[in-house]
Symmetry: D2
């Protein structure tokens, strides 16, 4: 490989939109996907309840964390293998494909039957992990790092494509700025900019970006208007008692109302 290798993530290299398809759900190329679910998988009752609720409200995929990278080693780190099993039960119950985060190569065999493997912001430049995900051929949801440029995000995706896997979905989830009134600053201009720069689908996570459930609906609608290919949203049946990120989680009925508005908005934009 040389420095002048053509960039496989670029529009020049591949002009047509890439569509990532999992279990019949398509993301990109005009197909919009709603991904919803709790920050962490906590119990079978919790994940199945939320999965049914978001399914009823029209969600396309279920999200839920089993391996949680947390700033402190003393915080809840997820249910690990058991969490993956609960996600599969929820998938069986609802038919929704599942999206969950992977934090290390060693866990890859456990993710064999997971539909989309998420790489979190902290691991966006964990190139050893990216290379392995490239070789795995599995769909990857790659989140932008807190202080990474769009070019760096694409170069990280390039590690996956260069290793043989073009099933990559990019995700804007807020950047770190001086602003201190919300958790992060959602950079929606990333959506139309990435649209120009790359053929890969681009989705938006307004839940982690804002850290504030009241801000999620307006920012979700704004992401749709900016041209996003999908949304990933935190939904919890009991946000006040969530083991992580309760403050930014929508209740199922709030999610349903937002999903309806999203459909209306998308229709108007056609």
């Amino acid at each position: 490989m040389t420095k002048d290798h053509p960039r496989m993530t670029s529009r020049e290299y591949h002009p047509e939109d890439t569509v990532v398809e999992v279990r019949g759900v398509r993301i990109g190329g005009g197909s919009f996907a709603m991904i919803a679910g709790p920050c962490s998988v906590e119990t079978e009752a919790q994940i199945v309840t939320v999965a049914r609720a978001v399914k009823a409200a029209g969600a396309d995929l279920l999200r839920g964390g089993a391996y949680k990278p947390r700033t402190s080693p003393y915080e809840f780190q997820g249910l690990h293998e058991k969490g993956l099993d609960l996600l599969k039960i929820a998938r069986e119950e609802t038919g929704l494909p599942i999206v969950t985060e992977i934090t290390g190569i060693a866990d890859l065999p456990l993710f064999e039957d997971i539909d989309i493997l998420q790489v979190g912001a902290r691991n966006m430049q964990n190139y050893d992990l990216l290379r392995e995900l490239g070789r795995s051929g599995k769909p990857v949801l790659l989140k932008r790092g807190l202080a990474n440029t769009l070019n760096e995000l694409l170069m990280s995706a390039e590690y996956i494509l260069a290793n043989g896997n073009d099933r990559v979905i990019l995700c804007e989830r807020g950047i770190r700025t001086f602003s201190d009134e919300l958790r992060n600053t959602l950079d929606l201009s990333a959506v139309p900019m990435l649209r120009e720069m790359t053929h890969l689908p681009v989705i938006v996570d307004p839940s982690h970006a804002t850290g504030n459930a009241r801000m999620v609906p307006p920012m979700a609608l704004a992401a749709v208007a900016a041209g996003a290919d999908g949304l990933i949203l935190q939904v919890h049946n009991d946000p006040d008692h969530a083991l992580s990120d309760g403050a930014e989680s929508l209740r199922p009925e709030e999610y349903a109302a937002l999903a309806k508005q999203v459909r209306k908005l998308r229709k108007a934009l056609l």
Copy 2:
């Protein structure tokens, strides 16, 4: 005055939305305003041509700079008094109220007949100027500084209200971050956050924020979806030869197409 003075800009102090009205145009409280025009007023032909074009496409107000704060003292600084006169001619021709920037107290008498006085990002914390604008009673469009929090923006507005003038419109115009692919990072979460914090109307300037005309339509639509009370957009009849900011200016026909989409989107959001 004491530190514990109630904040006049807060929702607690004044729960109802403030509506700023100029020559029959209302901004805020559910009334949406489109402000369009060139970065700088250059010639009578230019400003009248643009004014007519944006008026035909449904704009509510005309913008144009006569006093231009420029980073370098050797760049074009605007036509000053003559620029104000040309704006008034364009107003006469079209009926559109005019918005233009003021950079110092000494110029205030020249702005007697201007409809909305803009305070630019660089002067957001020029408190001497804000106090005088408070005393003037004239409508003020206050832009957020490049590295100012929402609380600081509101405290700057507070200088105007505390001096007797509540005709203040706030404007998000991009913040300065590490991101280097566009000029600034448009912080659309400012819109729903300010909606909670204050009763003042909030508009968005996607032109200065992105510095890239191709990014203006998606970000304008996103601002509408986020709940903005209006947009301020750069439109130039000949962007390639504009004396300032041509790269981010829409052509009149691009503006007309965007304005149509904005109306469609607003209807869907009702």
Copy 3:
């Protein structure tokens, strides 16, 4: 003036170091200056007490704010004209030249007898003010804005030089970043970078940058090691009861100890 005008602040235009001299005190070109005093002038007893203490510890100039730009209109804004008078009394008592902030052109006549006029971070791009200070011919201490590049700082200085005044001292006082453990991030690399870019003297304000008196001595010493031409430090006789910025003020005996270390360090660096 044209865009290609040579930059008067640049090393190319003026290779030799500029030395700003006031009442026999020299800043720049190898001459190091210690500027010390309270954030705000409060009473005659306070300013004279502090002035004597810092004079005894070898300070070269006295600082103290009379016109205080404060984020909230309800905070203490300084003693204004009376504050200037108290500074002059302290100068008479100690012989120390005085440095104090100006916030608007209208106040310029009151600053006739002030030795160095400071432009604060918020007004770094208040070009109307900079132009007038250029015409005034008086020494100016120009602070870097919270989110301004070094090029922008130099362009602001250029407004002063282009209007006939090269008695300009630049000041690094911390920039706004994501970092939230101190008030701002002191960017000491600005010192050697500006040394390459310009002939103007560069001083550092570790007090405002850190907002934490315990951090002031190490950062002051670091500024000296980085090559600064001077330091501006907050010193208060009773920090716990200061009307502003007590948390970052050194007590007179702490200042004296630091000043001694600074001299030792400068000697080692020769």
Copy 4:
């Protein structure tokens, strides 16, 4: 483990300075260490030449990258295992302990005989890697991420300590800000702040922070004055032809001159 677990990295938990010792070299607790060497190990001749030169100039440890995390998959990624072998040859020739970066758990067996394992900025929150390094018991040089707070840096160190290894050295290497005149912004206030917050040694990397060899000496001296426990510096025998980061590398004779100044400065600060 619970959220309220006492923080093992804190001064409260462990008031005395931690000293990390490798092959007789001590870092922390008043012992200052100079770490020098090329960005990448390229050839035996290169690494041995540089190692001898920095040893002659008094360096305490040799640095050199064998596993290079690069933004693009098409850039030079290091010599991997062969690079580690060349480092060991250079150690044999000079007696200098060696410091080199590890990027994934799978490589850990190859690092058995490496003296200090570096975790780069991109992997600061790769918790799977940190946990394994905790279990390994080997000295770790942990670099601050580009947009991480000091609390986050300490929480990452906590993952190592909580897994049984307190041989951790922290490293400030520049943060990402709006500033665009140098590669990153060296945050030297991190040094005295970390000194208060933790007992672990803190060193500074002015080479990566500035990306500019002319800025390295003043910023290295500033780091010493701020109280750093050591410096890590890039030195290359032929910077113009370096395979990576040549622009920020010192020539051996420049390194020798700087090392002499550092010793003089440290003596003055005692």
